[in-house]
């Protein structure tokens, strides 16, 4: 039988160390909502989402209450809208009609975000894909809960540099249209390489075409729990350090698995995967950067940070895999800047640069995440940053992403405020040397040699 120390340990994790389940994400297939009339598509999409997801939020709240663990977000991921709207949308404006319907549906069912305003263009863009991408700035301006993601590369296909070039411009335009809120629109737009079909985390979540009609995916969290556990291993060698992370990750993931199976049972929707990611929040103590500090680095970004992150990421997976029947999504430590107080401090103190963050993304999920840059950054420079990150993903056969926010009207050293879980971020310096001629070439970067495995 469970003893009092075990009960107290679990509750201490929840109350003092910010253990929570970060998200229950309900994936919904919308391919059957297609029509040749955009207004019919919008209505179909609204009806399907509000029907399939009507019990998601109350069910999540009930599980929260019964198990005594916060489930921070209830979210929906949907089939990439460029596929759903392809038949009907003849202009970017048409896509905005669907975006508004999605936003209404998300508000109706009470979810925090809906992800899947997406296009998969890793090799080429259809006309429909391009319309959707061009509609993103307006869609972000006119909606609140929609997250957009574009997959522009993969290990198998290489990188679609035409899309990368276009997205540099789209990111800037989105920033401009949402400048009253520190260019918040860009915080809901992510550009991916090797995007997974079953990611429950925003902004990159979408319900891939390889998925069933509806599926429950769960993202766990718990940097604070890992940090506290490591505090007890102070001065110990790497073997002990790794064991501690593994054991903690196992415990955290078991809770995620329980929540996932409960949600699946109660909603009558199959369980998909657990995403084993350490996701920080702006709360003190819920930080990946603070884990580095406990490991022995003065600040995130100090020499040794990439090694520490590689080890952390690997041990979280090793501990988590056994705790869950199916693992998927992104599964790795996140290193967003604005959502992690320790990272924010590291940037402010000059310990952490954009280049170091890029290096760190080679060994963890996901990429350059929630990084605020000066609003006068050139579109081609943003495309260059995206291309670099996509190349890391392509060559290393992993998911990488870019979610950068050129904050209009702000310069290096200013602070951008996004609010809530999105946090706040100091504007970081970007290398200003030009990459115009490189980005403007057009075409594709071919798939790397090691992708030819057949």
């Amino acid at each position: 039988m469970i003893n009092i120390n075990e009960v107290l340990e679990t509750n201490k994790m929840i109350e003092k160390q910010n253990l929570d389940v970060r998200t229950i994400t309900l994936g919904i297939n919308l391919l059957d909502c297609s029509d040749s009339d955009v207004n019919v598509v919008a209505e179909n999409v609204y009806n399907k989402i509000t029907t399939v997801a009507k019990d998601l939020v109350p069910t999540g709240q009930m599980i929260e209450k019964e198990l005594g663990i916060p489930i921070v977000n209830k979210r929906i991921s949907i089939t990439p809208i460029s596929l759903v709207g392809a038949n009907a949308c003849k202009s970017p404006e048409d896509y905005v009609v669907i975006a508004k319907a999605l936003d209404r549906a998300a508000k109706k069912v009470g979810v925090n975000f809906i992800g899947g305003y997406s296009a998969l263009v890793s090799k080429g863009m259809t006309k429909s894909d391009e319309y959707l991408i061009r509609s993103i700035p307006q869609a972000m301006k006119e909606t609140d809960l929609i997250c957009s993601s574009i997959n522009v590369g993969s290990t198998k296909t290489g990188i679609n540099m035409d899309a990368v070039k276009l997205l540099g411009e789209i990111v800037l335009e989105t920033a401009e249209l949402t400048k009253e809120n520190d260019s918040l629109g860009c915080a809901k737009l992510v550009i991916l390489c090797n995007a997974p079909d079953d990611n429950p985390f925003m902004a990159g979540a979408f319900h891939g075409v390889t998925e069933a009609d509806a599926i429950i995916n769960v993202g766990v969290s718990g940097p604070g729990v890992v940090k506290s556990a490591l505090e007890s291993a102070k001065g110990a060698d790497f073997g002990t350090l790794c064991e501690t992370v593994k054991k903690t990750a196992f415990k955290i993931t078991r809770v995620g698995q329980l929540v996932a199976s409960e949600a699946s049972r109660r909603l009558g929707i199959p369980f998909g995967i657990i995403d084993l990611s350490l996701a920080p929040t702006p709360a003190i103590g819920d930080s990946i950067a603070e884990i580095f500090e406990v490991m022995g680095l003065e600040r995130a970004g100090a020499p040794g940070t990439t090694a520490a992150l590689a080890m952390l990421n690997d041990q979280v997976k090793k501990g988590g895999v056994m705790a869950s029947s199916y693992v998927g999504g992104l599964s790795g430590a996140f290193i967003p800047v604005s959502e992690d107080q320790g990272m924010i401090d590291a940037v402010k103190e000059g310990a952490l640069s954009l280049e170091k963050l890029e290096a760190m993304t080679c060994v963890c999920s996901v990429g350059l995440d929630m990084i605020a840059i000066p609003g006068d950054t050139k579109a081609t420079t943003i495309s260059g940053l995206i291309a670099d990150e996509m190349a890391i993903g392509m060559v290393n056969q992993k998911t990488t992403a870019v979610r950068i926010i050129p904050v209009i009207g702000k310069k290096v050293g200013d602070i951008a405020e996004f609010g809530g879980l999105l946090g706040y971020a100091p504007i970081m310096k970007v290398n200003e040397f030009s990459c115009d001629d490189f980005v403007n070439r057009g075409g594709r970067i071919p798939a790397p040699i090691h992708s030819f495995k057949n």
């Binding site: 009960v7 415990k251 078991r254 809770v255």
Partner: protein
């Protein structure tokens, strides 16, 4: 049997257990096991209880216990046993 864990954490004072147990008995919650410990001056109690025959639903019990906790200066939580079993037992 639906087993739940009730925890009471707070400053030690007279009548904590009595108050909680009275409430549970009034609502047909059967107590299977009680253990307690003092950690850094704080009173920690855990009860394993069976809520199968309870006259209130889980949310009702949870809200009432929270209120009683506020009255006696403790934090009282009721949680299904599953979360602890999952985390600590293979």
């Amino acid at each position: 049997m639906k087993k739940t864990i009730i925890t009471v954490v707070g400053k030690d004072s007279v009548g904590i257990i009595a108050k909680v147990c009275t409430y549970l008995s009034e609502n047909q919650v059967n107590i299977l096991d009680i253990s307690q410990t003092i950690v850094q001056g704080y009173f920690n109690m855990m009860m394993i209880a069976d809520v199968n025959e309870a006259t209130k639903d889980f949310v009702g019990l949870s809200n009432d216990l929270e209120k009683i906790g506020e009255e006696i200066g403790c934090i009282i939580k009721i949680q299904r046993e599953d979360i602890f079993n999952k985390m600590h037992r293979l």
